[in-house]
Amino acid sequence: MTFGVCETGIEELDAQMGGGFPVGSTILIVGSSGSGKTTLCMQFLVNGAKKGEKGVFFTITEPLFKLTSNLEKFEFFDRSLVDDGTITIIDLRIIFERLGLDAEKYTVEDTNALLGVIKDIAKELNVKRLVIDSITALCYRLQSKEMIRDFIFKLGTFLAAKECTTFLTSEIPPKTFIFSQYGIEEFIADGIIFLGEVERGGDLIRTLQIVKMRGVDHSRIKYAMSITSRGIELAPLLKTR
């Protein structure tokens, strides 16, 4: 099978990946709260949308209005992409509610129903880029590692077949170097991007590192990352002692 690439629009990142992420791959975006996961995902969606690729953003942790009002601060964000339906932002909690899933723990049936709805939406909207923010909040409701594995695996396979590239965000405690809360998400993902920080002269510098990317010859160098109104920008991290 030959795959095309899916550009994020973040120059250095795409360059590292040989132009972009393999189309149809599932990438875990790992970072603690405030590390820029949501921004990275949005930039990924918007960049696709500007090229006519439809995208969907499933949010669990942040309410819709908060998410969009944060996005307005970025120059890359274009309200019209949402208005014309190129990007659809979906509040997963409403889906939970509509499925009657108000319990904290889901049964296998619940999980399948949820997976089904996410798949249906991806199909209906014919998206090429999909984000779930965060997979951690979702996994929290699944009762076992097997269920988590099954969920991510099935979702990934379905989306890969649809040539839809997927970003899943994974929330970890600050100052830790693990990739996921449940220790399982990272094994199913094709790629892992780690958003961390390093200390320099008492200041914290945001970093981004491609930890793993199946089928791509990438380096594991760390990038310094900045989040400004222009969104995420990268520059090779100067070596700190």
Binding site: L64, T68, I90, D91, I94, I95, R98, L99, E109
Partner: protein, 261 residues
């Protein structure tokens, strides 16, 4: 809704059971908070209803619906004229049924979803508004701080609240009830099944209560002896006593009265 009864010289509120009143030498002192402890089979739910059927009463019922209560009362020939029932049991059943109904059919619900409509709803940007579900404990304290509360108030039973809330929260609410009752000089009855929630909580409850009535069942050969003990009576130590009772078609019948002090 309720008429304030002119306070006369009487310092007691009748329980509605003559012999119990006489065991208590007049009834429950005004402003008292009474705990009714009972073991299953002691018929304390009947005692509660008998107390409720007399005088101006507000009954919070968590384990029986209004319908059940009324039919039991009818069977005993009690005709409560000024009884209001807050039917928590029905409300709770409705809520759990609703949730249960939802849970059992997430598969079906998925099939029934209109995808286009769902997408429109989920991307609408409106914050989710959940239907306000009233907190039962909150409801209790709210009703109690309301000035228009009848003379007698009964909570039957605390067991329900113990399943739903933290003990500390419950105790806080009970204190609120106790204080406002003391000011209004009414009578509050709270029931609790003995041995359900641990001795420590029972002890705490007994210390909060001004009066503790305990219903016991003792097996004697092939029959059961039932006893009603007045375990605590604040400031009326001589009223502590115990009486054997039976329940016949008219309700509670206290047989012998023994004084401990």
């Amino acid at each position: 809704m309720y008429e304030w009864i002119e306070r006369d010289e009487v310092d007691f509120i009748s329980t509605g059971i003559d012999k119990l009143d006489s065991l208590l030498e007049g009834g429950i002192p005004k402003g008292f908070f009474t705990l009714i402890l009972g073991v299953p089979g002691s018929g304390f739910e009947i005692l509660i209803k008998q107390i409720a059927s007399n005088g101006n009463t507000l009954l919070f019922s968590t384990c029986e619906t209004e319908e059940e209560i009324m039919s039991t009362m009818k069977r005993f020939g009690w005709n409560p004229e000024n009884l209001e029932i807050v039917d928590i049991a029905s409300e709770y059943a409705k809520r759990t049924l609703l949730v249960h109904g939802k849970r059992s059919s997430s598969y079906q619900r998925r099939i029934d979803l209109d995808l286009k409509e769902l997408i429109a709803e989920c991307s609408g940007g409106k914050p989710i508004e959940r239907g306000e579900e009233e907190d039962f404990l909150n409801m209790l304290s709210k009703r109690f701080t309301d000035s228009r509360i009848p003379e007698k108030t009964i909570v039957h039973s605390l067991d329900f609240f113990l399943d739903q809330y933290q003990q500390s929260e419950i105790i806080k609410t009970l204190h609120i009830m106790k204080m406002s009752n003391m000011k209004k000089k009414g009578a509050v009855f709270v029931s609790l099944t003995k041995g359900v929630c641990g001795e420590l909580f029972e002890r705490k409850m007994e210390s909060i209560a001004d009066c503790v009535l305990e219903l016991e069942v003792i097996r004697k050969g092939t029959s059961f002896d039932r006893y009603l003990a007045v375990k605590k009576m604040k400031n009326y130590a001589r009223k502590i006593g115990i009486a054997r009772y039976i329940i016949d078609e008219s309700g509670f019948v206290l047989e012998t009265v023994e004084r401990i002090l």
